[in-house]
Symmetry: D2
Subunit: 291 residues, 4 copies
């Protein structure tokens, strides 16, 4: 393991960063209700639509993904959209619909916050605050979520190096909130057949360097529903602590991200495979461990 | 599956390319001695040193990787080196040592050819001709290997799109040689913690679009031996037909690529995991199929 | 000009975007005190330190860059730092020092704002609000600066496409603030000899598609002071409406970005060349115009 | 200048490389007939079609570009095409047409060679042998052109670092051929509005580190004819020793690369601007020099 740390230590000073395993050797395990993420815990699946659209939509999806084994519900109420004239999400109305879905299913809620002025509002409804890729280096936002104890799902920026990713997590940790889940969701490269290039190399690299859990988003990481199932399995094989997947009752009619959203039948197949794989992994985990 | 093909057909005309599944629906299976690659065949492992160094080195490695279940031996005799003053490989002497290793172990040989003028020579010794990343668009070389029937291992260029990769294979096919094995080995991106960014998204994309087998090189694809085992498993989970891995008796003393070369103990662990995984995959393959 | 617009219109709908020249054919000219940027106006130079450090530092630099012909003063009070443990800027104290420098020199002030909650504060001191690369898609911040009339310097994100860059400007315009100056500052690529890859192609492309002024930051765009002078001239030759350059009295002692900061002597040489070039450009502008 | 060399020396050992200025402080000047490239020589323009199509085409273009001040004629006879089913160039027939054009105009000929087996043939007709981007690390080809004294135009690979670029030139120099002209032609990045991202940063970096001349290809470097003129001027402003530009009598009917090829009227305007600029540069060269 020497080479790796030596090489890496050229780039950032390793001393004193709370995010590093050398400062904090035991795995951090994040507890959200009954759900536990990280360390030796079983990988979990977070599923749901890209955007919350209406009550029926979110309830149907929540019930279905729960039935197939998802442990948390994702859904965007505040949507970061490239074009200001695109649908921007339902806002607080969307948060209320997520709350209803939680009451009906018991699934904890993951939803994005983009504005430090909205954190109190979003934290009232959400169980996990998502910081999106475009905000990975929005330092005031990182500091604000660092000031509360609510778990944070921090997505890697589209052009963020491993160092920058860990140092953004360090912003949250150093404000006093240790509950950070990292998320690889694909990077920008020249390669244009997939929406993003899913960089699974970072999964074992993060497990080696940091004690924080890391999950993978194969929906944004590929942008193509045909690739979601195999890349979900690949992410778990690389050592991910979980997956976050876009699922919709009528994927082609999703208001946002239709191309990468999978339907219930595909999700059902995926969950069967994942559940079998996790069983297999329990038997063979020792030989795949990297750190 | 419609979205994916529709999106892709913007970029290249789909009609008439031999490399595409739509022209040739059945999987191509490449036969090398007793070894079969592609389609429903069990994934195989190709292992060996980056460079052939001497007889004892290549024999020890060949015997050990065979014992752990590798099906072919890799080893460079003609080495493409960035710096002209670096070790350039043993040349024909290296090919002869590979031949001895094949006689001793029965493992077929994979070795690189860089110069169309060397193809006859290299083909005399090799069972599979490797075209390296730097030569993926060396069209005279592609045409020359297309003119013989020897199987070709075609590595993706460091900045090659999926289209360019398939069209380079088309060069070989259209000259009359159908025996092409594709190989993802990592692309150049901004991300600098790993030597290359292993783009596993391309594995299911290729399986969907083409009938050719695709294998993965986790050694070049990561550049870090700590990442080789988890990324090998991830590659198989993504649907790869095989792996090509750099292994050395004394990895730190490898003349070339020491950082990414694994030792015998790590290789032994990896092969155990892979063998278990392949058993598991046989039971669950139907749910992971993408095409 | 057909090809270019046709190609581009594949990616974003061209109708109705205020940022586009087809909606607003005349060049937008931004007025800041006596300074005018855009259209046929003479290119201007914004210069100053990366960070405001103390009164003597900022005053000395302001007076010197003014004397050599700079038209505005740059200087960071709120600094976006990758590492939370790095110097974060002097905050409001830094803004006050910038105000003193403006009073002494008459140079308008450009300084970064990162937090929508700070906009009122920063706008009290600044003449131009800078939105940094890391915040190019911080949509709440864009909306907030769109709600006031203060000119905005919008830096391109490290992985932002041309479309995304223009659509981020559209966020500001569509909130009612037409005073947006775009800034190319280098993108993330595999190329590692320079800190960023300065993408000057975007300068004539933006001039063709949009009526907004675009300036270039050769300091961040290269990361190496040896490259600042030639790339400044190249930026003007490509059609840039101005430059923003990091200058320090003791560049090697800059608290931040020392490698890319130039000293007074180099700045003096640069300004001489620029002034000669602008004279030349006035005589030959017609043949270089692209739109 | 210390920072830059220190930083760079981390990556490659500086000692003993013939390509470096520290080994060979005086600029290399390449003489091709009456044309001189490099050092203090006036920048030159190489112009012509992407592909040689027929005698009338190449003669018309050769005469016209000469009349506007081009110093050499470019034109492809052996074309590296992504798709094997695309037009592959006229081969030797194309070389003969180039020879006729040279006899008619006196312009030296630059044409690509892709196969080491063709070098003798191509060298019989060409004055400068072009090694294309896809072959920048085709080491047998580099060694072969290193074995003759014919000048070589070495294009940067699409994903080549500065180090790799210089080390490929070193292959040629170390075989005994000192006549290497480097050429920046754009790199692969995520940015998709232009065909490639023209990396002009490399021009002053190369001038600083190496004694070899470097020219720029704004046609491939942008892929859009609307950007060719401003980026040509930007390249000269950055310090380039010349330009290589695709020009055609009927650019929209070019068999290859139509989008980026300019017509005679645009070329005429460009040459006027360039000639004025070169006059200006002579007066102000001292202040733009970086090395």
């Amino acid at each position: 393991m020497k080479n790796f740390e030596q090489q890496w230590s050229i780039d950032i000073p390793l001393d004193g960063l709370q995010v590093l395993r050398r400062e904090h050797p035991e795995d951090t395990i994040i507890q959200i209700g009954d759900v536990r993420i990280g360390g030796e815990c079983e990988p979990i699946v977070i599923a749901g639509p890209c955007s919350v659209e209406n009550e029926e939509q979110i309830l149907t999806i929540a019930q279905t993904v729960k039935q197939h084994g998802a442990k948390m519900l994702r859904g965007g109420a505040f949507k970061p959209r490239t074009n200001p004239h695109s649908f921007q999400g339902l806002g607080e109305e969307g948060l209320k619909l997520l709350q209803i879905a939680r009451e009906e299913t018991g699934l904890p809620i993951v939803t994005e916050v983009m504005d430090p002025r909205d954190i109190e509002l979003v934290a009232r409804y959400a169980d996990v605050l998502q910081i999106g890729s475009r905000n990975m280096q929005n330092f005031p936002l990182l500091k604000t979520v660092g000031g509360i104890q609510k778990p944070v799902l921090l997505k890697r920026g589209m052009a963020a190096t491993l160092e920058e990713f860990l140092l953004s997590a360090e912003y949250i940790l150093s404000e006093g909130n240790p509950n950070v889940i990292l998320c690889e969701r694909g990077i920008r490269s020249f390669s244009d057949f997939s929406r993003n290039t899913l960089d699974l190399n970072i999964v074992p690299a993060i497990k080696h360097l940091s004690h924080l859990p890391i999950i993978v988003d194969p929906s944004h990481g590929t942008g193509l529903r045909e690739l979601v199932n195999p890349m979900s399995l690949a992410a778990l094989a690389a050592g991910a602590d979980g997956l976050i997947i876009e699922v919709h009752s009528h994927p082609d009619e999703s208001i946002t991200d239709a191309f990468q959203t999978i339907g219930f039948e595909q999700f059902s197949q995926l969950m069967q495979t994942i559940n079998h794989f996790i069983e297999w992994q329990k038997l063979h985990a020792s030989t795949t461990t990297v750190y």
